[in-house]
Amino acid sequence: MKKLISSQEAMALIKTGDTLMVGGFGLVGAPLTLIYALENAEHATDLTIISNNLGEPNRGLGKILRAGRVKKAIGSFFTSNPDVIEYFQKGLLETQLLPQGTLSEAIRAGGAGIGGFYTKSSAGTLLSENKEVREIDGELYVLEKPLHANVALIRAFRADSLGNLTYYKSTRNFNPMMATAADIVIAEVDELVETGDLNPEEIITPHVYVDYVVRSEIKLGGARVG
């Protein structure tokens, strides 16, 4: 399989100052093997991380925050990691909080060549401060910008040898959009299959979007694979 690399090789693709997208809704659908490798990839600092959450205190992405390697967090729900609030209040972390639908749509827009879009979500709230708000058909809409990243770390269920991906139940979440919106897309997968083994109708991420595949070594609950 041409695109198959190790998680350590994957980390060599990340540079200081990069913007990373990291899939998952909490830990579900998060690329746990890649996140673990990122914790150890100390060469990569000054990171901007686009992810729904930023891990938990000193767990997952939260570990990278405590190591002082995160410059900015863009997500929808930081409450699960009180460190984020603490670092933000101390001026050690920039944050950008977006409604979850806006976050996912902005990532999709980034991958789909959309220069911006209008959503009613957050109109009239603090989250639309400093954003363009306009009335469309009598209702207020907020202009939201697309999100892009240098590297996306995503999790899928199966990959074929070309890199076509399927997902498993609620692990899909942000992963398919992130696969479209980064210069380098690295997919951690549970199973590798031959090209042709996936039903063409059920491929969610066509291989054009996938640059590298890494075998998942950590499952939810902490069990190690293989």
């Binding site: 809704f25 909490g26 579900v28 659908g29 729904n52 929808s76 729900f77 930081f78 409450t79 699960s80 009180p82 984020v84 609030i85 603490e86 933000f88 944050t95 909080l97 977006l98 409604p99 979850q100 639908g101 806006t102 976050l103 996912s104 749509e105 990532i107 999709r108 959503t119 009613k120 979500s121 957050s122 109109a123 009239g124 709230t125 603090l126 989250l127 207020l140 997902y167 498993y168 139940k169 609620s170 692990t171 899909r172 979440n173 942000f174 992963n175 398919p176 959009m177 969610i204 939810l220 609950g221």
Partner: protein
């Protein structure tokens, strides 16, 4: 998990009465999640959507049978109803913002006299997460709020003006607390129902916003 007779469960039980066959329903984090325990869905005619990407959410799994990769918006394990489907967050919020979800049941920190809600931030405190609340608020056809009438510190959650930042400008449609049920019209709150344990005076005393009384004010029945 709270005991079945707790305040939260009574609120959830009351909210479940609002769910009708054919409804597409999104349940927020907290008390709303409990609502799923209180309506019968043997005929699979109520369809729960969870914004992390599933339509056809089934009841909580039996202990020991949990699939850790199958969770609701509260990140709690759920199951899959027959006819369920999965989709990305972008598609899920397309469904929500696009007006395809009939009922959203949300928790709140505060509700104001107009029925607008605050449920995503507390200045100076470790709450900094909006999740899908703002999208649901603009997108769902009907919004039901479920909340305890009072905070843990004994302060009213229904207030004249929210001290916490608003989640949007839209008014909710129904507010269900352990004390009472309010509907909302253009002018504000209307008391529709009193819980059997409380008096009108108690509701008035513990509600910091003006409200009118419905001409058909009822005593709540949970049977």
């Amino acid at each position: 998990m709270l005991a079945k007779d707790s305040t939260s469960h009574k609120i959830a039980q009351r909210a479940a009465q609002e769910i009708k066959p054919g409804d597409f329903v999104n349940l927020g984090v907290g008390i709303p999640t409990l609502v799923a325990d209180y309506f019968q869905n043997d005929a699979n005619t109520v369809f729960l959507q969870t914004e992390n990407g599933q339509l056809g959410v089934g009841p909580s799994p039996m202990p020991g049978t949990e699939d850790l990769y199958l969770v609701n918006a509260s990140k709690l394990p759920v199951t899959e109803m027959i006819g369920a489907s999965y989709f990305s967050s972008a598609d899920s919020f397309g469904m929500i913002r696009g007006g395809h979800i009939g009922v959203a049941i949300l928790g709140v920190l505060q509700v104001n006299r107009l029925g607008q809600i605050a449920n995503w931030a507390v200045p100076g405190k470790a709450i900094m997460g909006v999740g899908g609340a703002m999208d649901l608020l603009v997108g769902a056809k009907k919004i039901i709020v479920t909340t305890t009438h009072m905070t843990k510190d004994g302060k009213p959650k229904i207030v004249d003006q929210c001290s916490y930042p608003l989640s949007g400008t839209r008014k909710v449609d129904l507010i269900i607390t352990d004390y009472a049920t309010f509907s909302v019209d253009e002018e504000g709150l209307i008391l529709e129902e009193l819980a059997s344990e409380v008096t009108l005076e108690q509701v008035e005393k513990n509600t910091d916003a003006p409200f009118r009384q419905s001409a058909t004010l009822k005593i709540r029945s949970l049977d």
